[in-house]
């Protein structure tokens, strides 16, 4: 190992990155941009659902019932329709995602103590959103029934309405969410975004950086000189690892300042784990670059081997335990899941080395394996 050769290569590489506009943006602009786009766009909270009421009853009962839906943050009442004819167009265009049709005679039947139905239409194109919407509707309807029952009980028994309501619901669930107290999806997603972006950006930088030397012929400067494979890996990849590590901090600051996510764990441990993770993903880029010969191929392969596991098998969208057995196996075989656990643990659960050392160990093993493979597969005297 010769330090001068390593620094010569690293310095050269750094200058190229800093001067090439495309490369520079790939290194420094794309990661924060992805964070912003994903963070703002990927919120899974379902609120302010656009909603209409078709009141065919026009009674005090129906008005009171409908008003319950528009009072909270969940539904955004767009207005009343007199007739369900226009509803089809409104729902098809996405202007309206839920509708209540209160039938004529609604108030009269209730007053007579008879059951009645309210037809509810929900846009089912996104199942998770539809189910959440149905949950809201159920809850509001249940509350309406409870209130009606309480009123009746109060009239019959002479209790106050509040007391009557308590009698009707003797057991209540006292729920307290831990780690993400307000169950904000942003708090859950943003730490995982760090994982996704640091899974995608370093391999792209690395594979394109190495393969473009192969494509141009500059790789012959490695082959023809006494620069060893180890020196090349250090000199060539050090700038990419350093940039990616810096990006980890930029993303961390964005998580705190832009998205307001709390960081409760050990910063030192998180820094260490992020460093190891970035090393690991850079190693993925290195292997891609050894297997490919053109920049286009490198980009496609990188996209496939990073984006798919980072999004599907890491716990971003679907918790790993909810994946099928094959999915779980894949998730455990890839590094993304382990860093997800570290990121979520450090941000929300206040964890550190004591809880997360096994995950860190797996990542370190992964990085070591990738670089060893890269070193062994590289040849300064190839066959073609």
């Amino acid at each position: 190992m010769n330090l001068q050769r390593i620094t010569a290569y690293a310095y050269k590489e750094w200058r190229e990155i800093a001067r090439d506009r495309l490369f520079f943006s790939l290194a420094f602009v794309v990661p924060p941009l992805l964070m912003l786009l994903f963070g703002v766009g990927l919120s899974l909270d379902v609120e302010h659902i656009p909603f209409v009421v078709i009141d065919q009853d026009h009674s005090q009962y129906s008005r009171d019932y409908a008003a319950r839906y528009s009072s909270g943050p969940y539904f955004n009442l767009l207005g009343q329709l007199d007739h369900p004819d226009r509803l089809d167009t409104l729902m098809a265009s996405g202007t309206v995602r839920a509708a209540l049709i209160i039938p004529a005679g609604f108030g009269a039947r209730l007053a007579a103590g008879k059951p009645t139905e309210v037809q509810t239409l929900i846009d089912g194109t996104f199942p998770s959103r539809a189910l959440t919407t149905k949950g809201y509707l159920d809850a509001i309807n249940a509350q309406a029934n409870l209130d009606g029952l309480a009123k009746l009980l109060a009239q019959r028994s002479g209790l106050t309405e509040d007391a009557a309501r308590q009698r009707l619901t003797p057991v209540k669930l006292a729920v307290r969410y831990r780690y993400n107290e307000a169950v904000l999806s942003l708090w859950s997603i943003v730490p995982k975004l760090l994982m996704v972006i640091l899974m995608i950006s370093p391999p792209f930088l690395t594979s394109i950086g190495v393969v473009r030397e192969k494509e141009s012929g500059a790789i012959f400067n490695l082959y023809a000189s006494n620069l060893s494979r180890g020196e090349y890996l250090l000199g060539k990849l050090a700038p990419y690892v350093a940039i990616s590590f810096l990006n980890a901090w930029v993303l961390w600051l964005m998580a705190l300042w832009v998205f307001g996510v709390p960081f409760r764990g050990s910063l030192a441990f998180f820094a260490l784990a992020s460093g190891v993770y970035v090393l690991c993903t850079t190693g993925i880029g290195l292997l891609v670059s050894i297997a490919t010969r053109s920049q286009v191929a490198a980009m496609i392969v990188t996209a496939i081997v990073t984006v798919v596991p980072a999004v599907l098998y890491s716990g971003v969208l679907i918790p790993v335990p909810s994946l099928g057995p094959t999915g779980q196996l894949i998730a455990h075989a890839l590094p993304a899941m382990y860093y997800t656990e570290i990121a979520v643990g450090c941000f929300l659960k206040g964890s550190g080395m004591a809880d997360l050392w096994p995950q860190l160990l797996v990542l370190a093993g992964y990085a070591a394996a990738l670089f060893t493979a890269g070193f062994l597969l590289m040849s300064k005297r190839p066959k073609v």
Binding site: G217, A224, S225, L227
Partner: protein, 635 residues
């Protein structure tokens, strides 16, 4: 150069390299001695790069033995042990350099990579900058350099650690003749200074005289090896340039001698095994009259073709026909600016139907831009381009049906077969099925593609791929054909066939052909030439008239053979002689070669330099080109 018993720098015995089923080098034996410049000459795909990479220790090979500095290169470790003594400049102009780094940063990087002590690196860098004249551009990013400058920077970076063996893979491909001549002079000077050995490859046969010894490589095998003069001399014979032939006489000659090369309105004929008198006598006997001829020595290209043992091609039955005197390509004050940069500056030229017109110039002189304007791809900033009777600025799509265009990159779809490529172009140009079938048959016949119809374009040999690309450009029977460096990297036989087709198109069908090339031997073939410099057309005329203008301006060429060419050059130049180094010979422009020869020999003898006058040399297009360019660059 060889000293008895001294260890050779490179020694190969039965060297073999294959890529899959394809044999790149098939049993090569060669020995390179210390201090010599050894040239590997051959077309693309001959196996030059594979061998050179193996010598530099950057490519594994499959069989035979190879030793460099006495070390057998049989393992990665063995290859590694010699790399500090080797400098490799891989193929592709400046491709191993870093575009975003400046000249100086590139050189510094290579110096640090090679662990050159700083003081030594600085001193060597300044010396190399001085010789290559790159010093004043040291802060310029590499991506902004011209082809010639990139090539020189590549050389500086290769030499910064003072290697004992330098391996230069096609350092002059795609570079104009002036930069090429400059490059060889610099290389010779540097090698003389350092005493290093060089292994150099080139696809230009006329560069052979730059080397001490050469090996002609063709399809992975050595055709011949030795000193360059001995190679062409080994092929005894005479080249005759004939004027004023009737077309039936041309036909007769072609039948008798196998091949007759049209050169503008003249003809060039190589007669193997005959000296000048015998050759002229043979012509007179055959034609029954005395034809005006000029005899010259055969060139390496003649030897190459003879050695390849080319089957005598069907004689080009080129019968010149009258095709009208109205120009079909005309540039009138054609100008194109890119910001402050004037790429084409008030260019004027005209091409008649049936004429082969050559556009010459260094890289970046504006040739491609001019062609793009005439094609209607790029609108001119001012001036007009008229093609086939239409103003290209206003011409609609219809006019493009009358134009054929073939770019340097042979715009073929490599994953389609030959016939599929033709069909694709036919449908792009809207030919009917019947027309497309007829045209495809014509192209297969014209391009000699029979038997290759269903081969993927990617798998075709260079020469065939090039003729297929030409065929695709001709699928709609255009009246005007634009060719932008169509023959780069194609072997001499392939180029010869290509030009025969061009002449047939021009002479028989009246197609106007505008072609750009870096091969000066191809420039000689054109009816008319225009030379571009910095966007301007600086000379126009037939090859003969351009040569006459050169003689009037600078004088005639006298060739001298000298023992120490570099010292002799300095000696002559300080005496005010217009001399240039040409391999191991000196070319001097003098008013009267016969009278001046003794005087110059005397001059050199008095300085202790043995010299022999070789007599007057016919000026080549390269001489014309280099002379013009250097005059213009000086102003």
């Amino acid at each position: 150069m060889t000293e008895g018993g001294k260890q050779p720098v490179v020694e190969a015995r039965g060297f073999r390299k294959r890529y899959g089923a394809q044999r790149a080098v098939d049993g090569l034996d060669l020995t390179i001695h210390a201090g010599e410049i050894f040239g590997l000459i051959g077309p693309d795909g001959a196996g030059k790069s594979s061998f050179m990479k193996a010598v530099a220790g950057v490519l594994q090979f499959d069989g035979g033995s190879l030793s460099v500095f006495g070390t057998a290169i049989d393992s990665d470790a063995a290859a590694e042990s010699i790399k500090d003594r080797i400098g490799l400049m891989p193929q592709g102009l400046g491709q191993n350099l870093y575009p975003d780094l400046s000249i100086e940063e590139n050189v510094d990087f290579f110096a640090r990579l090679r662990l050159v002590p700083q003081a030594e690196a600085e001193a060597r860098k300044e010396r190399l900058f001085a010789i290559t004249r790159l010093g004043k551009f040291r802060a310029r990013p590499m991506k902004q350099l011209s082809g010639g400058m990139k090539q020189k920077l590549g050389l500086v970076c290769t030499l910064i650690h003072a290697p004992l063996l330098i391996v230069l893979d096609e350092p002059t491909t795609g570079v104009d003749p002036v930069s090429r001549r400059d490059f060889w002079a610099i290389l010779a000077e540097l090698l003389q200074e350092t005493g290093a050995t060089a292994l150099v490859s080139t696809a230009y046969l006329d560069e052979a005289s730059r080397f001490d010894r050469v090996l002609l490589l063709h399809e992975g095998r050595a055709l011949a090896a030795g000193e360059p003069s001995s190679l062409s001399a080994a092929q005894s014979g005479t080249v005759l340039t004939l004027h004023d032939l009737q077309s039936d006489e041309a036909l007769q000659l072609a039948r008798q001698f196998g091949y007759l090369e049209p050169r503008g309105r003249d003809w060039r004929l190589f007669l193997a095994g005959l000296n000048a008198e015998a050759a002229q006598a043979a012509i007179t006997t055959l034609l029954g009259r005395t034809v005006q001829t000029r005899a010259s020595e055969p060139e390496l290209e003649d030897a190459f073709i003879a050695l390849v043992g080319a089957p005598p091609a069907a004689p080009p039955v080129v019968v010149a026909q009258a095709h009208g005197a109205e120009p079909v390509i005309e540039a009138r004050h054609l100008t194109r600016r890119f910001g402050d940069f004037v790429a084409v500056d008030d260019a004027n030229f005209r091409v008649l139907p049936g004429e082969v017109f050559g556009l010459l110039g260094a890289n970046g002189a504006g040739k491609t831009t001019a062609i793009k304007m005439l094609n209607g791809i790029l609108p001119p900033s001012s001036g007009e381009g008229w093609v086939a009777g239409a103003d290209m600025k206003r011409a609609g799509r219809a006019i493009k049906a009358r134009i054929g265009y073939m770019s340097q990159a042979f715009s073929l779809y490599t994953d389609l077969t030959a016939i599929e490529n033709i069909q694709l172009y036919a449908s792009i140009y809207g030919l009917s099925r019947q027309q497309a079938r007829e045209r495809a048959r014509w192209i297969v016949d014209m391009a000699g593609l029979a038997g290759f119809e269903d081969a993927l374009a990617a798998s075709l040999p260079m020469g065939l791929r090039q003729r297929l690309a030409l065929g695709c450009a001709l699928v709609h029977s255009p009246r005007v054909l634009f060719l932008d460096e169509p023959t780069s990297g194609v072997d001499p036989l392939g180029r010869r066939r290509f030009w025969d087709i061009l002449f047939r198109l021009a002479r028989e069908e009246g197609v106007a052909v505008l072609v750009t090339t870096h091969y000066m031997s191809e420039a000689e073939r054109c009816d008319k030439l225009a030379l571009m410099f910095a966007g301007r057309v600086v000379a126009e005329g037939t090859p003969a008239s351009l040569k006459q203008a050169l003689a009037a301006r600078r004088g005639k060429l006298l060739a001298l053979e000298v023992e120490a060419p570099r010292q002799a050059l300095v000696q002559l130049q300080s005496a005010g002689v217009d001399a240039s180094l040409h391999g191991r010979r000196l070319h001097c422009f003098v008013a009267d070669p016969a009278a001046e020869a003794p005087r110059l020999c005397q001059l050199l003898a008095s300085a202790g330099l043995a010299a022999r006058a070789l007599g007057e040399l016919p000026a080549s297009m390269e001489d014309v080109f280099v002379a013009l360019m250097t005059e213009l660059e000086a102003t």
